[in-house]
Structure formats: C-alpha cells, structure tokens
Assembly symmetry: C2
C-alpha cells in the first residue's frame, strides 16, 4: 500500500513536473531556471535535482512514457506482419493508448505544447534526437529477434528502423508546424507520408 511518505513524494514530483512544463511552454526552456521551478513548488533547488537528474530530464518525463508505449506497441504486433507493416500499425494504433497514458500524468494539452517547445528549442531537439536513437536501437533488436536475423551482421533491422524513424521525424515536424493537433490529423499525416515513401525514393518527381 501507499504510505504517506510515498504520497508526498509523488505529489512533489508531479508538482515539479507540471510547474516545469508550464514554465517551459510559456517562458521558453532557456529562460526558465531550475530555481524558478523549485520556487514555484516551494522546495529547494537541491530537492529538484533529487527528483530529476537535470533540467533536461523533466522536459522529457512525459515523452519517455510515450516512447516506452510505442516500443510495447511494436512488441505486441502479430508475428505474420512484415517489419515495416508492424511499425506502421504500431504507430497508427498507438496514438490512443498514448493519449490515455499521458493524461494520467499531465493534461494532454500541456504535453502537446511541450512537444512543440521541444521541436523549437535547439538544445531540446538535440536531446530528443539522441533519445530517438536509443529507442530505435531497442526496436531494431526487437525486429531482428522477431524475424530471426542477427542484428549485428544483418543491417536490415537498423536500416528499416532508421528509415521509419526518419519518416516519423518529418511527420512530427510537419504536424508541429501545422495548426491541427488532433489525433486524426497526426494519423492521416503519418499514413500519407509512409505511403509516399516509395515514390520519394524511386520515383521521378518531375513526372508528377
């Protein structure tokens, strides 16, 4: 069961997280100091660093949940699906579960604002891309095992995942730049971009 101490800890952590995201998305990440966040929750700066390893980590706390969820989503795909098809389905179907899980931590609207802040803040974008590399490595190993190939000698798992990740990045970027942040918008965009992959790679663009 959950003791009072645990409840207090959870409360502090959630308060720090919410305060941080709120400040980041309104004033900007760089213009927000750790002292400000700590002060907003009325704890010392030192305590902040006991809950989050750094200013960056709190910015990705929610993002982290969605990444884990995507990995699980891929793992749960039926074995008969081809690799790229499994990734596609995982992403298209994963969005709802993601929405639910996010809401349990912070308002979805705050998460979306934070997502855009990440995309538009160089330091955060860099961290986001590096985190993606880690996730992609996980998924590459997952696919390799699933298909029965060796990830260290067969480059195809990493290639497929890298390509898929690239398409997702372009999709996310476009989604952030637009003005429809609904669930259906991102799904449409994802499907559309994945469908145009072949044409982008092999086609003669001038023909169209």
């Amino acid at each position: 069961m959950e003791t009072l101490r645990d409840r207090k800890k959870r409360h502090t952590r959630e308060a720090l997280l919410r305060a941080a995201l709120e400040l980041f998305t309104t004033q900007g990440y760089e213009h927000t100091t750790v002292d400000e966040i700590a002060e907003a929750v009325d704890v010392s700066q030192r305590t902040f660093f006991r809950y989050f390893a750094g200013k960056e980590e709190v910015a990705f706390a929610v993002q982290e949940m969605t990444e884990a969820l995507f990995v699980e989503s891929v793992r749960a795909r039926p074995a008969h699906e081809a690799p790229m098809e499994a990734l596609r389905q995982a992403v298209l179907e994963g969005w709802e579960a993601i929405q639910e899980t996010v809401e349990s931590a912070v308002p979805v609207e705050l998460y979306l604002r934070m997502y855009r802040t990440i995309e538009s803040t160089p330091a955060l974008l860099a961290a986001h891309l590096r985190r993606s590399v880690t996730t992609e490595e996980t998924i590459a190993r997952l696919l390799a095992e699933r298909e029965g190939v060796d990830v260290d000698t067969d480059p195809r798992p990493r290639l497929a995942v890298a390509v898929f990740g690239g398409v997702m990045r372009v999709t996310e970027r476009q989604w952030c730049a637009g003005d429809d942040f609904g669930l259906e918008a991102i799904r449409r965009l994802t499907a559309s971009y994945l469908d145009q992959l072949g044409s982008a790679l092999t086609g003669n663009w001038r023909a169209g």
Copy 2:
C-alpha cells in the same frame, strides 16, 4: 593581403582547435575543461570564448567543413540524376575532397579520432544529430529546387533526405564500431547499405 594581426588570429584559432581535439580525444570531452584548452595554448579562458561560441562548437569545427562540402557535392551533381542517385554519388565521390579539406585544418587521423569521440559521447552525439537535421533541411530544399517541386507542399524531398540521412547514420555507426577507418572501407559500407535499402523496406527477411 593577410596582415600580421590576421596571421596571429588564425594561429591562435588553429592552436585552440588542435589542442581541444587532442584533449577531447585523449581524456574525453566531458573530462576536458575549457580552462585546460586555453591553458594549453596559453591564452585566457575568455579568449577561447571569443574564438568559439562554446565548448561544443570547437568539437564540430572540422565536421562543419565536411558538411558544407557534402552540400556542395550534391549541388554539383548533374541534373539528369534522380534524387537518391545524386545523393549516393555525392557521398561516394565526396570522401576524397573531404579528406583534402580536413587535412588543411588538422591531421586526418585526429579528425577520425574526434569523429569516434562524437559518436561515443552522448552530449556530442545529440549535437551532431541536431546539426544533421539542419544540413538535411538545406539538402531537401536543394533537391526540391533541382526537381522543380515545392518543398512546403510536396513531402518527398524531405522524406528522401531523411531516409538517406538515416542510412548514413547507420553506416557511420557501423564504421565507427569497426576497425577499418580507411577511405575504401567507408565507401564500401555506404554503397552496401544503400543497396540493401529496398530489401530492408519491402522484403521478407525470413526468406533469405
């Protein structure tokens, strides 16, 4: 013509760059302080920051040259080549020019060591990926213009470049992990991985 003042500046800059890379590659990036770099060249810390915007920038000074060279390499490709073919040729032929240009700044061997340090240092890998995004955006616009499509309405330029970038990242990673850092090794690896793209995306891996 080049005045004495200019010569001194160039000398200081090159000395700082060499000292920084030398220290980064031997002691590690995180374990090297800006004070150390400045001291090695016998200038004040403040002066270091007048030549480089930050500790990170000096780490990418050479990398920056190679990126610019790659962009030019793509721009110089004949108009009849299909987009992906142009990228492929640019990268395969670009390596020699890169080697020459690098040598004019620092020993190629030092550059290669620095490259591996970047790949293995989280903070530098993150910065590297973000820089790649910038380069990719430049190339996407280049390809779009070249093919006569609008980069803001047609996703294919960004998709193609993102996919190509993804393959290159996997290639670089593999190259760094191996033990043959010669020119021919990276060229072979690049060509091989690009050739396996189709198989990675559409094939049934279990068949092979």
